[in-house]
Symmetry: C2
Subunit: 371 residues, 2 copies
């Protein structure tokens, strides 16, 4: 099913919006109240480009929550169970953010720009409200803002070659999630080795939206010899790779999940002396042990998926959930991601999911999917 | 411009989703991470139906933040500058919610279901994060949840007749924003005299999503003699009526505004003894006096609007902003809403806005628009 998209005044436009129109965007979605391209007319070619070449994505909807001030570091450390003690300026960290009950409310990448300046590159929820309320109610000197920052992603096996052609050889030395503030001609940005795919690449955090078209055009031009083309965060690749999507795989309102069952247990520091949001709840969950675990599923046939979490059954009993299901051309099979009762191993047989076309069988398999 | 809409797993579906598909929905938007119908193929007829007959709207995306527990009333009173002292069970209140700097972060309708149970029927931001953080950081016994509640709106001059036919004569006695918990056959809901239009009507807060199709079909069937038809919150009517749209007319990230400049000053109780979020900032703003004021604008010609806030100029200087601009068939003119420097009265001439088609002249005029 496709529908017209009502582009109303309540939906924000990316600084790359006009450029994506010229590039032939055909479909949008909405993320953090902002339009985000979904595809440019040929999803299969866009998938191939990501897997074998290089793609450029408008991911401005990945908004930044900036936290600055004397208590900025204190606030950032307080809102995540991850221990940031060893995080240096210029490093990024994937940080689960939990509420006081231990449920994940966002899973941003934290960028430490200075000892008193941080960005949370957020998934699809208004995390700024959370950060502001905590800082203010605690009387901490931490200012929470949404700066004029718009990431442009360059992803795929040839992403490094394009990025070297844009910035020079020094980018090869950037570690994963490492970043540096720099300029491209007169365009100010933060260059990071990151991006929402497992194909490798970089994100250019443009720090002045008025240069949106210029940056898009510059990347597109330098990328020509490498066959760069427009695309968007790719659902097929992310499911194949087991990348987590807050809003799809979990969401506080729809499908609450904790860091342990989402496979982020290693990021939860239960030994921390300092208090942090959700510490007591997470300790209780850890002591109780896993009740659900994140898993991939091989799926029989080529069924359509309604596009929202669906229960997984064993006999008559609901023992898990599928959060996304699609057909993988590369694997030649339907695959899914979701949660499963922790006591059920990968050898479990007889799992099924009720879909519009009828029931389909499932078999658990570790993530990422292996051919 | 219309585009395909990528209905991804990260966008929630309303309990009325299947019903709206059968009713021929042609366009969706996204609100509170949920799909919301935008139109059913004939926006003009849908506008006429709202103005002269009766329309039914899937407004499930107007999510409820439920606050319960011994400190629920305390929390609700703390997060709004409005004095709720006189609010009784069964009454609704329009409550601006401000951050600690006095900027509006949401403008929900509060429903007092019991002395220790409230709903915030929220505009498009994750207000639950704000409420949860404050309750938990203050150690208050107030539980914040998003219950299974999905409003269905019946709007238009014939809305009362339809609602009487559904529920009986008692609904005539409901005051504006008054509500009652009831059932329709075996369908549990809260019936309120409310809705996001100035044409009058009711909202049926369905409290069990599994009855979504049943409720939609029941309302559609009973509405047949009254010529009811599907529709959606209508931008033309809301601009004509001067209804505020959080996300369009203001948004913390894009166009921050305070209650005074948005015309909600009467809802801010500066005399309250008890502390509330933003009290100091709002007192300072009140003492400083208005710098901007909300206004309507008559607009020359029939220009296209890019769909995001645009500055209003007087000579070379930016003196205001237009948040939405459209053509009103009823008024036979282009109209807009936005903000204007407070010292500039309705007689101000020489105002202009730079639009894709070129500059257009503006003249301030009070809201709602009068023919």
């Amino acid at each position: 099913m496709t529908f017209d998209f009502a582009i109303g005044a309540n939906l924000r436009k990316s600084p790359y919006f006009d450029a994506t129109l010229r590039a032939g965007v055909k479909s949008f979605s909405v993320y953090n109240h902002m339009l985000i391209p979904a595809h440019f007319g040929d999803p299969e070619a866009e998938y191939q480009r990501l897997m074998t070449g290089v793609a450029m994505w408008d991911v401005a909807a990945q908004r930044q929550v900036e936290i600055t001030g004397p208590d900025a570091a204190r606030l950032v450390q307080y809102i995540t169970p991850r221990n940031l003690g060893s995080t240096r300026v210029g490093q990024g960290r994937y940080v689960p953010i939990c509420d006081h009950d231990g449920w994940i409310i966002n899973d941003p990448v934290l960028l430490k720009l200075a000892d008193d300046r941080f960005w949370l590159s957020v998934a699809d929820s208004d995390l700024h409200l959370w950060c502001q309320a905590i800082a203010q109610e605690r009387g901490w000197q931490a200012r929470v803002t949404e700066p004029d920052v718009a990431p442009l992603a360059i992803q795929g096996p040839l992403a490094e070659a394009v990025t070297v052609a844009l910035f020079g050889d020094w980018v090869r030395d950037l570690r994963y999630f490492g970043f540096r503030e720099t300029v491209l001609d007169d365009i100010p940005l933060v260059l990071a080795r990151s991006g929402w795919s497992k194909q490798g690449g970089f994100e250019l955090y443009l720090t002045d939206g008025s240069h949106g078209n210029a940056l898009w055009n510059r990347v597109a031009a330098v990328g020509v010899p490498f066959g760069i083309g427009p695309g968007a965060p790719n659902d097929i690749e992310r499911v194949e790779s087991g990348l987590i999507s807050y809003g799809s795989d979990m969401r506080w309102q729809v499908l609450p999940a904790d860091p342990f069952e989402m496979g982020m247990g290693a990021l939860v520091d239960l030994t921390r002396e300092d208090d942090y949001v959700g510490r007591a709840a997470l300790r209780t969950k850890a002591a109780r042990g896993l009740t659900r675990r994140r898993t991939g599923y091989w799926v029989e046939g080529k069924p359509a998926f309604p596009g929202h979490p669906m229960p997984v059954h064993l006999g008559g009993e609901a023992v898990g959930v599928v959060s996304e299901l699609l057909y993988s051309p590369r694997l030649g099979r339907s695959i899914a991601v979701g949660l499963l009762r922790a006591d059920l191993g990968d050898e479990t047989s007889g799992l099924s999911i009720a879909l519009p076309d009828g029931a389909a069988g499932l078999r658990p398999t570790p993530l990422p999917f292996k051919p």
